[in-house]
Amino acid sequence: MHNSKAHIWFIAPAIVLMIIILIFPLFLAGGISFTDYNLGNKTFEWVGLENYDKMFNRKTYVKMIWATATYVIVVVPISVVLGLCAAMLLNSLRFGADIYKTIFFLPVMATLLAMAIAWEFTLHPTLGIVNSFLANGCGGVREFILGFHWLPWVDSQESWYAVACANNMDFPYWLKQKNTAIWTVCFIGIWQAFGFNMVLYLAGLTSIPRELYQAAEMDGAKSTWEQFKLVTWPMLGPTTLFVVTITTIRTFQVFDTIEILTKGGPSKTTYVMMYAIFEKAIQQNLTSIGAAITVVFIGFILVLTFFQRYVIEKRVHY
C-alpha cells in the first residue's frame, strides 16, 4: 500500500450523500419513533416503546398489518405466476407476441395515478362499466360463467350473481364494501405488476440455451411439463428470485391506488403501511407514530432482503 489519499476523494462524495439522504434520516426516524415529537413542536419527551405498543395493540394498526399482509400475500404469488405463464405463452408465439407484450406492459408504463382514476370510473357502483356489464348479463352466459354455475356444487339460484340479479341488480360496490375492497385493490395491483414480471421472465427465458431443451428432448423429457421441470424452472431460478424480491418490495410500497380509490377504507380494510405512514405523519402530523411505522416497514424489507441474499441466493446460482 502507498500513502496516496486520492481514494478518499473519490469515494467521499458518494459516502457523504448516502449518509445525509439515507443513513441519517433512517436513524432520525428510528430516534423519533421513541418520542412523542410532532413536526413543529419545540420539545419532545422520550416515551420508550409506547408508539410500538400502540401499533401492535390498537385495532387500527393491527388492521394495517392485516391489510398489508393480505395485499402482499395475494399480489406477489399471483402476479409472479401470471407473469411467468404470460411470458411462456408469449415465448411460444410465432406471430403477434409484440402486440401482447405491449398490451401487458402498458399498465407498467402508464402513471398509476391516472390508471387508478380510470379504475375508479370503471368500478363505480352505478355508472361503472363493470357493474353495467354484469347487470346486462343477468340470466345469460355471463351469469353462468361468472356465477360459477358450471361448478357442480354451486346452486344456480343461490350463486352471488343470481342473488344480485334477483335483488334489483345489487352488484358489489367494489371499492366501498368491506368484503370486496381489499380484493379489488389486490386485483388492480396484480394487473399492474404482472406485466413487469412478464417482461423480466421473457428476458430470462430468452437466455436459456436452446440446446438444453434439445438435450432434455433427447433424454426423453416428452411433455412440456417435464421440460419445464427439468430445464425452464431451474434455469429461471435467478430471474424468479429477482422477480419475487422486487415484486414484494413494490407491493409493500403500494400507495397510489389506495390514496385515489379507497383512502384506506372502508373501515381500514385497505389501510396498508405506506398509506398509514402518509396519513399519520403527513396528514395528521403525528410524526412519531409515522416514524414507528416506517421503522417496522424498513424491518420487513430488511428481513426480506437478508432472506434473499443469504438463503435463496445460494440455491439459484449454479
Binding site: 434439445q214 438435450a215 428432448e217 433427447m218 423429457a221 427439468l230 449454479y318
Partner: protein, 377 residues
C-alpha cells in the same frame, strides 16, 4: 442393431436450400463422420437424424423403420452437443441419471415424495445407480459425481456429456462437434479415447466435425459435405488418396493439396509448368487442374526436365516435418512442399530451391472440378 438410412433428404429454411437430396446409409456399429466446412449443412443433417429438425422432404429410417413422424425423444438416439448442454443445476450424478429416470420411472414414480411409495421404484433406482456407476467408471468420472457442471473443467464436462449419452445404451450416438471446445492437446487425446470407446461399445456413431483431421483419424467412413451436397462417402484413406472432386481434395488434407494449372494435348499428354507427366489423361485437348499433395513433392539438388524451381517464402517448422511455402518462378503458384528436417534444416526463407515430384501421385481434375482418370496405358 443401429442402422440409419437417409433417403433423398432435402432441407430448406425459407428460400435457402441447406441440404440437397442426400442419400446416406450408415451401417450398424460404424463410426461415420460428417465432415465439411462451416455452413455446409452437416449439423442440420445430424439434427434431422436426431429428430430435432424436420426435413423438408425425404425419409429417415432407423433400423429400417421410417421415423419421419417419430419425435426425437422416441427415436432412442443419444446426442452429445457442442456446448455439452449439461443441466447446470443438477449434480453430475443427477445429470447422468436424468435419461434413465425419464425413461424408466413412470409418471407416478417421478412425483416428489409420494413417488417413493411405488413398490417397483426401489428396484429401478437400484439398477439406475448401477448403470450410472458403471458408466462413470468407464469414463473415469466417479470422483466427480457429486459436483455440479460449473465446477468441472472443459474436458470433464465433455466426459459427463458423453456419459449422459452412454448411460442408457441407445441405438446410436450422435455427436455434434463434441471436441471443438477443448484445447488442442486434449482434443488430440480425446480423439483416441473416443475411438477406443467406439471399439468397446460397438454402437453406431454419427460424428459431425469441421476438422478433417478428426474425420481422418477416427472414422470408419467419412462423408464429405460441401454446400449441402454429399460429395464423397468412403473410408478416410480412400477419400484422401482418391478424392472424387477438386473440392474434396482441397478440403481433406492439411496442409492443403497444391493445385497446378495444366493442359492435356490431343494425345492426352499432360503438361504443367515445364513438366510433362508420364501418364496420359483420359480427356484430351483440355485444360486441367493437377493436384499434388505437399508430401508428394520433394526439395532436391537436381535440376532437369522433371523439376521446377522457386523461392521459399515461408518456412513452417513443425518439428517432425518442415513445410516450405514456395513461390514458383513464373509467379503463377504458391505451393507447399514437405521436407524432412534432417535434409532441409539449412534451407531458410528466401533461398531458391528445386522441387521434384514423387511419381504416380498426381490427381487430375477437369475445369468443372470433377476427377479425371489417367489412361491405363
Amino acid at each position: 442393431m443401429g442402422t440409419i438410412s437417409l433417403k433423398n433428404i432435402s432441407k430448406s429454411f425459407g428460400s435457402t436450400q441447406v441440404l440437397n437430396n442426400l442419400n446416406v446409409d450408415i451401417n450398424d456399429g460404424e463410426f461415420l463422420t460428417l465432415v465439411g466446412p462451416s455452413g455446409c449443412g452437416k449439423s442440420t443433417l445430424l439434427r434431422i437424424i436426431a429428430g430435432l429438425e424436420q426435413q423438408t422432404s425425404g425419409d429417415v429410417l432407423i433400423d429400417n423403420k421410417n421415423v419421419n413422424r417419430v419425435r426425437a425423444s422416441e427415436r432412442d438416439l443419444a446426442m452429445v452437443f457442442q456446448s455439452y448442454a449439461l443441466y447446470p443445476h443438477l449434480t453430475v450424478r443427477r445429470n447422468l441419471e436424468t435419461p434413465l429416470r425419464l425413461r424408466d420411472y413412470n409418471a407416478f414414480e417421478r412425483l416428489p415424495l409420494i413417488g417413493n411409495f411405488s413398490p417397483s421404484k426401489k428396484e429401478k433406482t437400484e439398477s439406475i445407480n448401477q448403470l450410472v456407476n458403471k458408466t462413470s467408471e468407464t469414463l473415469k468420472i466417479s470422483e466427480l459425481l457429486d459436483r455440479k457442471p460449473g465446477q468441472l473443467s472443459g474436458g470433464q464436462r465433455q466426459r459427463v456429456a458423453l456419459g449422459r449419452a452412454m448411460v442408457r445404451e441407445p441405438v446410436a450416438f450422435l455427436m455434434d462437434e463434441p471436441l471443438s471446445n477443448l484445447d488442442a492437446a486434449l482434443r488430440v487425446h480425446m480423439r483416441s479415447e473416443l475411438s477406443e470407446l467406439h471399439n468397446s461399445l460397438k454402437t453406431t456413431f454419427v460424428y459431425v466435425t469441421h476438422d478433417q483431421a478428426e474425420a481422418l483419424t477416427m472414422s470408419s467412413r467419412m462423408a464429405v459435405m460441401i454446400d449441402g451436397n454429399l460429395l464423397q462417402l468412403d473410408t478416410p484413406q480412400e477419400v484422401y488418396d482418391n478424392p472424387s472432386s477438386l473440392s474434396v481434395a482441397q478440403f481433406v488434407g492439411s496442409p492443403k493439396i497444391n493445385i497446378f494449372k495444366g493442359t492435356a494435348d490431343s494425345s492426352g499428354t499432360i503438361s504443367f509448368l515445364n513438366v510433362n507427366l508420364k501418364r496420359k489423361s483420359s480427356e484430351s485437348n483440355t485444360d486441367l487442374h493437377i493436384g499434388i499433395r505437399p508430401e508428394h513433392l520433394e526439395i532436391t539438388n537436381e535440376s532437369n526436365e522433371n523439376t521446377f524451381s522457386g523461392t521459399v517464402a515461408y518456412r513452417e517448422n513443425l518439428g517432425s516435418d518442415i513445410f516450405f511455402h514456395v513461390n514458383i518462378e513464373d509467379g503463377s503458384n504458391k505451393i507447399i512442399v514437405r521436407g524432412l528436417p534432417q535434409f532441409t534444416h539449412q534451407i531458410s526463407n528466401g533461398s531458391s530451391v528445386n522441387i521434384k515430384r514423387v511419381s504416380d501421385k498426381a490427381l487430375l481434375f477437369n475445369q468443372a472440378g470433377m476427377r479425371v482418370q489417367f489412361t491405363n496405358a
